[in-house]
Symmetry: C2
Subunit: 341 residues, 2 copies
């Protein structure tokens, strides 16, 4: 099959018996075109199967209709879902997305940024850990490219930023346990270097204090994201502090490890926690996204709706595209509590 010669705006103009300018106007919906001509042009377009060359359009000065997305780690479920939500939203507005990877720690953000600019994107979204935010902001200003950040945790200031409300999430999950009658609540998991964890621990701690409950630093234990480690850490914690009745787990792996650990030591899970003779320990957790594995676990958990966050990011970007001068702002995604049973 021969390669169909590309049909251009010229061919359309010819077929419709008008000038290229007219076709262009019809295409962009600008200018007042008579209904009759508009009709004729549309028909020609249809008939010839014309698809407008965005590159040429953008070269001439218009918008490219393309948004660049630099995501740190596409394999993180949270960012994958964020990206999916964003792309979905943008595509429904007729935009397209250039996806590139900035590295788990944001190592490649700057180079990727340049590449995106050279591709003529209308705006850039950066999702994930950011290495050199200030430089990026300057670059964006220099190039006149709207920039929006989306991150799980961040201290960036003076930029458009959308992020989860880690502190509120921690408050919700802690308060949930308290309302179920728990007074001695421990924390399991995460590494102290993590910003996300810091924000969450902050919320946990604040909530305890707010309810006049004891906060013991020995009840906040670090551990790696492995079931075995979580299981061991929890057993040790409970052994040394038998009065603890509830545990907040930093993520789903830790949570599963905690649960399994208890079960393996002879505890049995019931609807509201894990029981051992006359004692009960309730579990609660943070999760990146809705996970099948947690569905059947005897615990409540809290997530940040990543897909919706992606949509918010898209909306924010569209706004900036409309009105480049609109003031930057810091937007926060409320978390969602998933109650067990």
């Amino acid at each position: 099959m021969a390669i169909a010669k590309k049909v251009t705006i010229n061919d359309v103009a010819h077929a419709a018996g008008v000038s290229v300018a007219t076709v262009s106007l019809v295409l962009s919906g600008k200018g007042r075109i008579s209904t009759a001509t508009g009709e004729r042009v549309s028909q020609a377009i249809e008939q010839l199967g014309f698809v407008r060359n965005r590159q040429a359009a953008s070269l001439r000065g218009g918008q490219s209709g393309v948004i660049g997305l630099i995501v740190g780690d596409l394999c993180s479920p949270f960012y994958a879902e964020l990206a999916a939500g964003m792309i979905e939203s943008l595509e429904s507005q007729g935009k397209m997305v250039f996806l590139t990877q900035g590295g788990r720690k944001g190592e490649h953000m700057l180079e990727r940024f340049d590449t995106l600019v050279s591709q003529g994107v209308d705006g850039i979204v950066i999702a994930g850990a950011v290495d050199r935010g200030a430089e990026l902001r300057t670059k964006a200003e220099d190039n006149g490219v709207p920039l929006v950040f989306a991150s799980r945790a961040s201290y960036l200031d003076d930029v458009d930023l959308i992020r989860p409300d880690n502190m509120q999430a921690a408050q919700m999950i802690t308060e949930h346990l308290i309302r179920r009658g728990h007074q001695r609540i421990a924390w399991l998991g995460g590494q102290s270097a993590s910003l996300t964890r810091a924000e969450r621990v902050g919320g946990y701690c604040a909530t305890l204090l707010k309810f006049g409950l004891p906060f013991h630093s020995e009840w906040v234990v670090e551990c790696e994201a492995s079931q075995k480690q979580a299981s061991q850490a929890l057993t040790q914690l409970l052994g040394q502090n038998p009065t603890i009745t509830a545990v907040v787990c930093y993520n789903s792996v830790v949570a599963m490890g905690a649960w399994l650990g208890l079960m393996r030591s002879g505890w049995k899970s019931s609807d509201e926690g894990v029981d051992y003779y006359d004692k009960r320990v309730a579990l609660a957790a943070f999760a990146e996204v809705r996970e099948k594995d947690l569905d059947d676990a005897p615990m409540s958990w809290v997530i940040t709706p990543a897909r919706e966050m992606g949509k918010s990011v898209a909306e924010r970007m569209l706004q900036r595209l409309d009105d480049g001068k609109s003031t930057v702002r810091n937007q926060i995604m409320p978390p969602r509590l998933v109650k067990q049973q």
Copy 2:
């Protein structure tokens, strides 16, 4: 801060005291340029911070350096990792990737395809379930755009296709159990409408026969991807068929459910399976990607290296770009067995 006026090839030519043509030649590495001039140009480029406008380049007739990727579901860990591998690979070759979503069932593949073409991509990769493969192939031919498919399971023929070896994966995991002494091996999970499952069950069955072991259709049970359902289904299966000593689980959720189910019924996990008095049942599973949750489970599992598959896809695409006439081929990714110690 004022928006820096975009520096073009003209400015570079001026600064280096040569013509734009020369700069272009240096940029593309074509044509014989004297070392001296080349040096001077490169220096000017560096100094002015010039970045070549790919849109213009591509418009004029060159390649755009952009590959379109239509992925069905970015939230599936398998495809997320595949995409990540592909993008990584392509970016290291100076290419960029347009990412769009084709829908879980490939509903939007055709529209997305058109959009990508209008953006002037050099080639298109389709990852995921494909709805109308034949049409896509025709479209690609008409537009002269190389097309490569990557899918977890597919019957597409006569196209460039890279897919996992589901059958071999099933053979590996089944044989693994057999070599450990199991003779009565059951299958748990998946829905019979799934193509992937069909391929895997095929491999499981074939391996049993190859080793002269019994295959009972009652030992192959469907179940949804939920721990609870898996747990119930397994309990029932083992209750009715007490001679079974090993179970192959269709995915990680089913596997976790199976394990938990056994534990909750009083079984205890050991290194080589789950024990109950004098009886032992070994578990094995398919997983989409390496999962932390499976790491500490008493079972072996098999995965298709999605990231490497992504790299293969990228390579295949680059080949087609070099040599559009190279014959299509069906490439298969070997699975990897992860033995639980």
